[in-house]
């Protein structure tokens, strides 16, 4: 088995008196897709935020390959999130005033690339995801599925090690959701990145390599491990 790409060991996190994570171990290997399911308020998003270095766990550690993530400074974690991780949310992560190509180019420009240099791969990714000719459109001028594919292009343009997705198809109809999910799984596999998907949707979970479930802050391997595609 390949060594895991992202690992969480003994993660604890509480908000006030509410326990969100009560000792969670988690890992995902390169090229592997893992679905995280569970009822509302079970701690799914907290796990994702801990793994991505957005919040620090109260106890436990997070590693990207061999590097500790949770002990880095806020600045270093921001840099990590920008350069090694990618995020896909339900909706709303695109800047409404930027056209599609600039939305995709933004993370590269934040990383220091010049604008022409950043726009080139951005347009390439848009083309790959079937959005050729729509580079100039603003998010408001795109359909929900198109906007989500722009968000996907933005996530992938930095060639991330890990992609975190939080209900990526939650705002889409079934057919469009299927399509976005298919593109997501396929491109993540091509990049040999790890994919962590938080979802309610059993059909989305079923398309991942593996499913884990969080209940009351504890992690269980899902009895029915998803069969890929």
């Amino acid at each position: 088995m390949t060594p895991p790409m992202i690992t969480g060991l003994g993660l604890h996190k509480r908000f006030g008196s509410a326990v969100a994570l009560g000792g969670v171990d988690f890992s995902a290997a390169p090229g592997e897709s893992v679905a995280v399911t569970g009822p509302s308020g079970s701690g799914k998003s907290t796990l994702l935020h801990c793994l991505a270095g957005i919040i620090k766990p109260d106890a436990g550690e997070v590693r990207l390959f061999d590097e500790r993530v949770d002990s880095l400074s806020e600045r270093q974690r921001s840099h990590l999130r920008r350069s090694r991780f990618a995020f896909l949310f339900q909706f709303g992560q695109l800047l409404p005033e930027l056209p599609a190509d600039e939305n995709v180019a933004l993370p590269l420009m934040l990383g220091g690339d010049s604008r022409p240099k950043a726009l080139e791969p951005a347009r390439e990714w848009l083309g790959r995801l079937g959005l050729a000719g729509k580079e100039d459109r603003r998010p408001g001028e795109l359909s929900g599925g198109e906007a989500q594919r722009v968000a996907l292009a933005r996530a992938l343009v930095i060639r991330p090690a890990v992609v975190f997705a939080d209900e990526p198809t939650g705002a889409l109809d079934r057919a469009t959701g299927d399509q976005v999910m298919g593109v997501l799984l396929q491109t993540v596999a091509e990049l040999n990145a790890a994919l962590v998907v938080v979802t309610h949707d059993p059909l989305v979970a079923a398309r991942c390599d593996r499913t884990v479930e969080i209940r009351d802050g504890r992690l269980f391997d899902h009895p029915m491990a998803g069969a890929r595609r």
Partner: protein, 654 residues
Amino acid sequence: MTSLAWRLTRLGGRGALLSTGLTALAVAVATLLLQFAVAGNFAFAERADRTEWRAPDEVDDGAAVIATATDFFGADAVTRVDLAELDGSAPAPPGMDSFPEPGQVWLSPALADLLEGVPEEDFLARYGGEAAGELGEEALAHPNELVAVVGRDAGSPVMTAERFDQDMISPRVVDGFDSGDASFLYGFYRVLMVLATVLMVVPVAIFGAAAARLTVARRDERLAALRLVGATPGQVVRLTLIETTLAALAGAVAGTGAWMVLTPLVARIPIDGGPWFVGDLWAGAPWMAAVVLAVPVLVAVSAVIGLRSVVISPLGVARRVRPKGLRAIRLVVFAAVSVAFLVASQMVGGGDMVVVAVLMGLFAGVIAAVNLVGPWVVQKIGRILARTARTPARMLAARRLVDDPKAAWRTVAGVALAGFVAGSVALIPMIETDTDARESETLTATVEADEAEALAANAAEAVDGLAEIEVAEPDPDFGAEGTAVVSAATTGADLERVRSLLTVALDGASPEREEVDEGIMSNGIVASVRVGVTVVLGVVFMTAAMSAAVNGLGSVLDRRKTYRLLHLSGTPREVLDRARRQETILPMAILGGGSVLTGMLLTAPLIGVMGLDATGVAILAATLAIGTAAVIGAGALSRPLLKATMEDVSPRPD
């Protein structure tokens, strides 16, 4: 309905409370400034009213004779009122217990202070009498006014000789002091106050309207939710209106309260050489209430306009499409109004009130047009910058300018308008005449030609060798028909003494130092205008900083979701801070400079190009420095909120 609106506000969470509170605060500041502008007009009217008794209406058969003159003493001008009783039935003038007997001199408190320790021959001797009393407030425009009332004998030549200087009143028969003409100086000041009002009220109104929409913008999602559960558009509009209007009413009341508390401070602003009676600032009290009621109504109207885009769809969240290009018609309107103003200002013949009113209206129109063309310019700037941007911060800033030029304009509108105001007044000449006594001085007084020789002989005898007396023809351009000029050449040391002797010898005419004393009056006006300009700029800057702060906070609240997600995906806050700073500074730099130039260009033909003097340069430099600092400072106010917003990842029901 009202209770539901109130409940929604209270339960709307911190964001809703914050935006409602911001609206109330913004309206409070706007109201405070409005009350100031309104009260200012009434206060000038009050001052003007109290000068009326010095120029009562002339009657055929009256109780007293009145005449006025302006006497000079060092760097000061003293208003002299000569009074003589005719038949013993004359009423006591305002501020005095009784009609002055011949030989009685009543001084205003400030004049009494000024004359403390001054030898009688240097000043009081001019009036040939003894100080008999102090003038009360009712007789004075302001507490520091220099006024002397001199009781005369009706038969004395002082009360019969014609007076020739512009601001003097020749002896006239009156039957009382109840009605008359206000001092022409205060007529002039009142026009300036109207101009200042226009300059202050327009930015304040723009700011107030923007504040009204703050609450509305913040409501997008919740309004949509209300529509979703079946509220009709009308109900949604009403709910929001109630909420906004209540906030505005609270703000208007608070602002008016603040104004009332501040009146004693405002009363110390010196205009025309003196502070104000606090009572003058309360003269418009009935209008205060009108302002309190009018402000929420205006805010409500502005809110309705802001709501139009929101209530249509239950799916609410307005989708961002390609930003609508603002049409160039804005530029055309601006150009048209500006040209109209320029043309009208060239056609002004006299100081007709109607013409002045039209000009003021057009000037207000120009300012409003600046507000129209501003967003258009902002969008153009954004387009250019978006094409050339190299850094992500610059790109974000530029796209935002293109996307919502009106919001960006609202942030800088205050400074741009301040620049316009500063540019308009920078060219007003502020030359002050030096009034120090020189080694040799020449005093001149205008008298009737027939009597010139006799008066000159009188004068020569009176001065007894202290001065050389001559009689000359009047100035061919300005001198009145049938007059002659008596002049006295003397030394600086004997100046005031000679002046006193001459005033008596020339039957009450007021001898002036050549080229100096005419400057004292304009010095007073220049000083007042300078104070006025400072106050107006202060108000406009306060508005600018407030609107920058409010809009900065508002834009963070508006975009809190996006900011949070940007933070999640690793966007450094510094980039966003830099982008937000550039959003304001870039248009401010261009529009600020542009509006200074526009202001200069528009007023140059009106007041004549005198070139920039030091004061003008100082005003401009201060405008730019304070404006930039204020807006950057105000923008920095929203940084903690941005930080809190970005890093807020606590669990939420989305």
